[in-house]
């Protein structure tokens, strides 16, 4: 039946939602449908039929089947299948998982494994198709056939080879960026355009930019320069990234991550100067350049984006790539015109090459992103594949869209001016990875989820209305429409398109400007970066500064909660009437931007004059003359000096601040030096985290756990309710971590992140946890004390934040338990890096991305070697150099910093504490579970859940007949983890007195705040726990929104290892997944919302 949703000719059937069709089906029927879909996708020859079937299967296994399985269906995931997944052998993985399903019946775990395998297979299939289409576009194919310099069919144009007093001419390409006026509901994703060309439509405007208050007036922000040099090398320079490279081997051209010049290299390759077909040929770059430009000639390419910040959502990178490609194609005669505008067919060729370049560079944008190559305002639409197209018979649409540039009659100058007079274009400063959003959009589109499908149609209607409003110069109406698009279709499709920062900005701008605020407009994958505010033109000048101030103020308030890459900026902009435009400069006019000379001439000046080539001397002479006569070069001499003699001093200020932080946060220098010594000598490290290989690890027996998903929930309910009513219980939320995975190491407080809209507003993790305690307290007629543990990184921001929101008016007592121990991150050892990358199972990436990753890793190994293995990591903001030392310490901190004493004073009857992770959103003081813990008379009751594929990092194991929690780091073999049925949710019910006993402490010791005794107790327990070495990723920010990620070494002791100690008894209880699952990655949010988890959490809360 479900197959017919895919194959039907009738759009009414074909566009029917999968969810609606699955709702009435029982488990057996769903399994039968899965079997049919799987058989169909294996045999169908139509690409999109196959992909839709795979997405259907993924959705059924992720969303529809698990909820219909009997509770007893646990089951384990075979390691063999997991290994296939890591190696990107998705078909084989699916076969293994299906075999287990046939053998043992369906289970939650196998469903998760199948969902993941189908998900990855679907995107791989789509990506392969785009790649194939990119290669088969006419004009691109020859580059994949060319494998020898002697076969190179291109030649540099004669005009560029003619020297004038040792100066070669400079070809300069200036390109605007593009803004998407309609927001296309992400219909510019290649997969969508190729399946639904009629629905892929955007209105795209080429704009010149200036940063308001910094630059004098808008100009095409993207510049690419090309010239011949008298050395057989490829010289690449990015002025903005202050990076330059002289490349003398072909291999280095294809090494994208070796430096910051990957985009320039991609352009050189995609333009055909060094065609992709020659990669790995082992041939000489000099021979190739000889063929292109003549003996002893090389090429220099320079890029500049005039310091436009990264993440602007204006497709700066893609348009820079397009500008570089245009320049290279002009230089090699692949366009008729060496200068001026390009013809339509040339623009299309640049587009095809830019798509190729993005693929080669391992990135990927939308098909409208090269819009800056075209002039003015244009409608970009998907195109149905015709019989002569390579896509025919494979996909409904072509890879490349068509561009219709609006003329003056369709959109008159007055309307263009009206748009310029009302629109305020900004960069909010947030740095976000939009990749998961694009995957969500694709998946939802292919599943035809009914609400999303309807929203997509609405977005298409809105586009027509926006064009009409624009043509009529009715910008007020345009503002209304873009706002309606943002509030309606866009958020229906992707609720994560908005966030707390954006909503706050809109509210504040709206309050400030009232009726003069005409609308909001989102650019790109999600809001927070590039955005637009549309105001009455009479207030635009005033609004430029006010909106800037509002953004700065809002960022200051939220910067500890949300990842910002930079301070917000406002742009001045103008509509560009030319698109990409080439100029050639000869002789004295052949000048590059001043900043180029600051970078490049430093080396020249260090060279003895006698060794300088005539060209280098001519260049110096040229620069010297420009400094005297050209106002743009007026401060160049000073800047050149700065480059020649870099300033010192900033670093020492950072060091001081770091030392101060270390002292303030209880850094133990002796322990640190010991760890360094042990690391260098190989006593500790990633390999040493593991238990001996001889350790026998088994899954626990049924009697080792109490399965609370099956047992009678009311058995000890009364006991729990009574304890609650008597005020015997408190909650500890672990909120000391920075949420490395949540923001990829951005160093903000995860606890304060307003991550989801619940009950009509964005809610932080802190608010959500308090709302659950509030509700349980109200039901029990009492209040529940709630502790948030913090660290050096999170304490101050959390304190300030809670003050700002008045502790969310939490009725009970609210405590912050400040961390008292901190570590200093170290440069990793090459041994550990190799272990992590070579010994541990790795997810193989898509071909080009894998190349990128290999190249990055080679660079990081060099970095570790040259910076000093196991030396202190200090080359970052001081806070980014520290690390928390593991969640074990968070409970001892309670004893040490007086928080527990305060609590016991306030509530002497306190007997039980429930400890949980910040991201375990389902954990609350459930009286039935509390009752169970109390009735079982045990020191620690750990909650575990059945395992899904994504639940990695350890589990509940039986070692030597004793059940204990085993960290993933300590598993002797990866496959051991897959034999374990249960995953540790970290939620722990703690008997306060038994815990104190473990530390050789009593309540009076705590109340007496006997620090010596408490410390002694902590040391005793800590010494019995293993120290793990881990690699964490840390971001280093620089330039205008640029970020680098480094792996750093840190150590930790973990809470779950308490289960190995004999001084306290531990028991284990299996809880429902909705209670124990954790939100580790924002990419999980959408599925979390769709599978009912968000609704469940909301039902536990009282706001």
């Amino acid at each position: 039946m479900l197959v017919s949703l895919i194959t039907a000719e009738d759009p009414v059937i074909r566009d029917r939602s999968l969810a609606d069709s699955c709702a009435p089906l029982d488990t057996d029927s769903l399994l039968r449908e899965c079997s049919e879909l799987d058989a169909f996708r294996r045999t169908s020859e139509n690409l999109y039929h196959r992909v839709r079937a795979i997405f259907f299967l993924q959705a059924i296994y992720r969303f529809h089947l698990p909820g219909k399985l009997p509770v007893s269906a646990t089951g384990s995931i075979p390691f063999e299948g997991y290994e296939y997944l890591l190696g990107r052998h998705f078909e084989e993985a699916i076969d293994v998982f299906l075999e287990i399903q046939d053998q043992d019946g369906p289970s939650d775990g196998i469903c998760s494994a199948l969902a993941s395998a189908y998900h990855q297979l679907a995107f791989q299939t789509l990506a392969d198709q785009v790649r194939k289409s990119v290669r088969t576009v006419r004009g691109n194919q020859w580059m994949f056939r060319m494998g020898h310099p002697a076969d190179h069919p291109l030649r540099i144009r004669r005009e560029l080879l003619e020297q004038d007093e040792h100066r070669f001419p400079i070809l300069c390409e200036r390109t605007p960026v593009r803004m998407d006026l309609t927001h296309s509901a992400w219909s510019d994703i290649f997969f969508l355009g190729m399946d639904f060309p009629q629905g892929a439509r955007v209105v795209n405007v080429s704009v010149d930019l200036a940063v308001h208050g910094r630059d004098s007036k808008p100009k095409p922000p993207v510049e690419a320069y090309f010239r011949i040099i008298d050395e057989p090398v490829l010289k690449l320079t990015s002025i903005d990234l202050k990076a330059t490279a002289v490349i003398s081997s072909l291999g280095d051209v294809f090494d994208f991550a070796k430096d910051y010049l990957g985009l320039l290299k991609a352009a050189v390759i995609a333009s055909g100067i060094i065609p992709p077909g020659i990669e790995g040929s082992g041939k000489s770059l000099a021979d190739l350049l000889n063929r292109l430009a003549g003996p002893n000639r090389g090429i220099e390419i320079i890029s500049s984006v005039n310091d436009i910040p990264k993440g602007s959502r204006l497709a700066v990178s893609t348009n820079l790539l397009a500008a570089l490609i245009s320049a290279c194609m002009r230089a090699t005669g692949q366009t008729n015109s060496l200068t001026g505008e390009l013809t339509e067919s040339e623009r299309r060729l640049v587009l095809a090459r830019a798509i190729l370049g993005e693929w080669i560079g391992g990135s990927g944008g939308g098909w409208q992103d090269s819009g800056g190559v075209w002039p003015g305002i244009k409608l970009i639409e998907g195109e149905v594949a015709g019989e002569t197209d390579p896509e025919h018979g494979i996909s409904r649409g072509r890879l490349m869209p068509k561009h219709k540039v609006f003329n003056q009659e369709e959109i008159p100058d007055s309307a263009r001016q009206a748009l310029t007079d009302s629109l305020i274009l900004v960069h909010g400063g947030m740095a976000q990875n939009v990749g998961p959003i694009l995957e969500m959009v694709t998946e939802k589109y292919l599943l035809r989820s009914s609400a999303e499908w309807k929203a997509r149609q609405e977005a298409l209607d809105l586009l027509d209305q926006i064009v009409k409003a624009l043509a009529g110069g009715d910008i007020r109406e345009l503002g209304r429409l873009t706002t309606a698009n943002f509030r309606g279709p866009l958020q229906t499709i992707i609720p994560w398109a908005t966030n707390h920062f954006t909503e706050t900005l809109i509210t504040r701008v709206s309050e400030k400007f009232g009726d003069d605020f005409w609308g909001f407009w989102m650019l790109g994958g999600m809001s927070g970066g590039g955005m637009g505010f549309i105001v009455d033109p009479s207030r635009k000048q005033e609004a430029l500064n006010i909106i800037h101030d509002i953004m700065i103020q809002t960022k200051r308030e939220l910067e500890n909660a949300l990842p910002f890459a930079m301070d917000p900026v406002v742009y001045d902009f103008g509509i560009n009437p030319h698109g990409t435009f080439g100029q050639i400069h000869h002789g004295e006019e052949a000048l590059l931007p001043p900043s180029y000379y600051h970078l490049a001439l430093a080396d020249t000046l260090r060279t003895p004059p006698a060794d300088l080539s005539p060209t280098a001397r001519a260049e110096l002479d040229q620069f010297a003359r420009a400094c005297r006569t050209n106002s743009a070069f007026s401060s160049s001499v000073e800047s050149l000096f700065e480059t020649l003699i870099p300033r010192i001093g900033d670093q020492s200020a950072g060091d001081n601040s770091l030392s101060k932080l270390l002292t303030e946060n209880g850094f133990d220098r002796r322990q640190h030096e010991q760890i360094r010594k042990d690391l260098v000598e190989g006593r500790i490290g990633l390999a040493q985290n593991r238990l001996p290989a001889t350790t026998v690890i088994k899954d626990v027996a049924p009697e080792d756990v109490t399965d609370f998903t099956k047992s009678d929930a009311t058995e000890n309910l009364a006991l729990g309710e009574q304890a609650l009513a008597d005020g015997e219980v408190g909650v500890i939320t672990l909120a000391a971590g920075a949420g490395s995975r949540w923001t990829q190491g951005a160093g903000v407080c995860k606890a304060l992140h307003p991550f989801v809209r619940l009950a009509g507003r964005h809610r932080t993790f802190v608010e959500t946890h308090l709302a659950k305690s509030r509700k349980r307290g109200q039901e029990a007629g009492t209040t529940i004390p709630h502790i948030f543990t913090t660290s050096y990184l999170t304490h101050q921001p959390t304190r300030q934040f809670l003050d700002t929101v008045d502790g969310y008016n939490y009725p009970g007592s609210l405590h912050l338990s400040q961390g008292r121990s901190v570590g200093l991150r170290m440069i990793p050892t090459v041994r550990d890096l190799r272990f992590a990358w070579e010994e541990m199972p790795q997810q193989v990436l898509d071909e080009q991305q894998q190349k990128m990753r290999d190249s990055v890793r080679a660079a990081l190994l060099n970095w570790a070697r040259s910076t000093g293995e196991a030396s202190d990591y200090t080359d970052n903001l001081p806070l980014q150099c520290l690390h928390p030392v593991g969640h074990f310490y968070e409970v001892p901190n309670l004893l040490l910093n007086g928080t527990l004493a305060n609590l016991l004073e306030e509530r002497p009857q306190l007997k039980t504490l429930m400890l949980h992770n910040i991201d375990t959103l389902g954990a609350d003081v459930d009286p039935a579970l509390l009752g169970h813990h109390l009735a079982s008379d045990t020191g620690l009751t750990f909650e575990v859940i059945t395992r899904r594929l994504e639940d990695r990092g350890g589990g509940l194991a039986s070692i030597g007949g004793r059940p204990r929690l085993l960290e993933g780091l300590a598993m002797p073999r990866e496959e051991d983890e897959f034999a374990l049925s249960y995953y540790n949710s970290m939620t722990t019910w703690i008997d306060v007195d038994r815990l104190l006993e473990l530390f050789d402490l009593t309540r009076p010791d705590i109340l007496a705040r006997d620090e010596g005794k408490i410390l002694a107790g902590i040391r005793k327990v800590a010494s019995g726990l293993p120290t793990y070495i881990t690699l964490k990723e840390v971001k280093k920010r620089w330039g205008n929104g640029q970020e680098d990620v480094f792996p750093v070494t840190q150590f930790e002791k973990l809470w779950g290892d308490l289960t190995t100690l004999s001084g306290i008894d531990s028991k284990f209880i299996v809880v429902p997944r909705s209670r124990g699952q954790q939100l580790k990655d924002p990419a999980q949010l959408d599925a979390w919302l769709r599978d009912g988890s968000a609704d469940h959490i909301e039902s536990l809360c009282e706001w």
Binding site: G139, W142, P153, M329, L349
Partner: protein, 278 residues
């Protein structure tokens, strides 16, 4: 269409002396490049030839083609203004007649019974408009040749109708505009260096000539393709551009290996390969 006249261009700065180079023919005869060309032309039934030369080179050329002097007219191109201009210089000679156009720096070796010129003239005899000799050529050679977009003419092997042509296209343009059905991927129909042209081509050249800058030939051929039925025919043979580095050597090797000197030359090559080092 019966062709009785031929034009050879040999006035380019680099071409002036190339036709005077001597080679050994497959039959062991030593003669100049110009003599090779004229022998082949006259053997194919052409009655008179004009050679467009640079000023001051007539004496050299006269001695190089001494055997055919009675049927050869020398036309001086006073200033080098491009290939099209060189051809235009012969307009008085060609008048309104169709003519064979050849280049002084190209030599041909036929694989068929007929010479390369004869093959072209045979195709032209059935045509009413221009005919260019073409050969499938790998894309790496595109920087050297004019290239045509064409479709096969039904029923005649190796005959195409030309719709469009571009001088020395990049492979990018070639892939978009010049793909010919039936050719191997990465191969295009490139000019073979000999054409049969008609009066409208000369007229177009005349109209395009301004006296300033180079006058290329290809735009006038392209104009002819728009105005009349323009054919291209595949020639069974090899062309040698003796202007290229080692071009003359290749031509000589080609001649030698297809004639009496084959064993001797191969022996010499093997010996050279054995004793020389890079």
């Amino acid at each position: 269409m019966k062709i009785k006249k031929a034009v050879i261009t040999a006035a380019g700065p680099k071409q002036q002396h190339l036709p005077l180079q001597t080679l050994v023919s497959p039959t062991g005869e030593t003669k100049t490049v110009a003599a090779f060309l004229l022998d082949e032309i006259f053997a194919s039934g052409i009655e008179s030839v004009a050679i467009v030369i640079a000023p001051g080179t007539e004496t050299d050329f006269s001695s190089a083609v001494a055997d055919h002097l009675d049927k050869v007219t020398f036309i001086e191109q006073a200033t080098p203004l491009g290939y099209g201009h060189a051809v235009l210089c012969a307009s008085d000679f060609t008048g309104s007649d169709p003519f064979l156009l050849m280049m002084g720096d190209h030599l041909y070796l036929s694989f068929a019974k007929e010479s390369c010129v004869r093959q072209l003239l045979d195709f032209a005899s059935q045509a009413s408009g221009p005919v260019s000799a073409v050969q499938p050529t790998h894309e790496s050679k595109l920087p050297f040749y004019g290239t045509v977009a064409a479709s096969p003419v039904g029923g005649v092997q190796g005959l195409y109708e030309v719709s469009h042509m571009i001088e020395k296209p990049t492979p990018t343009i070639a892939e978009q505009e010049l793909i010919v059905p039936g050719l191997r991927s990465g191969n295009y129909l490139c000019f073979f260096g000999m054409h049969v042209l008609t009066a409208p081509v000369m007229e177009h050249l005349d109209q395009s000539f301004t006296g300033e800058g180079d006058l290329p030939l290809t735009p006038s051929l392209a104009a002819a393709a728009r105005g009349e039925k323009y054919l291209a025919c595949e020639i069974e043979g090899l062309r040698f551009n003796i202007e290229e580095p080692y071009g003359l050597l290749r031509a000589q090797l080609g001649m030698a290996l297809s004639g009496e000197g084959r064993d001797e030359v191969m022996g010499a090559m093997i010996e050279l390969i054995a004793v020389t080092r890079r």
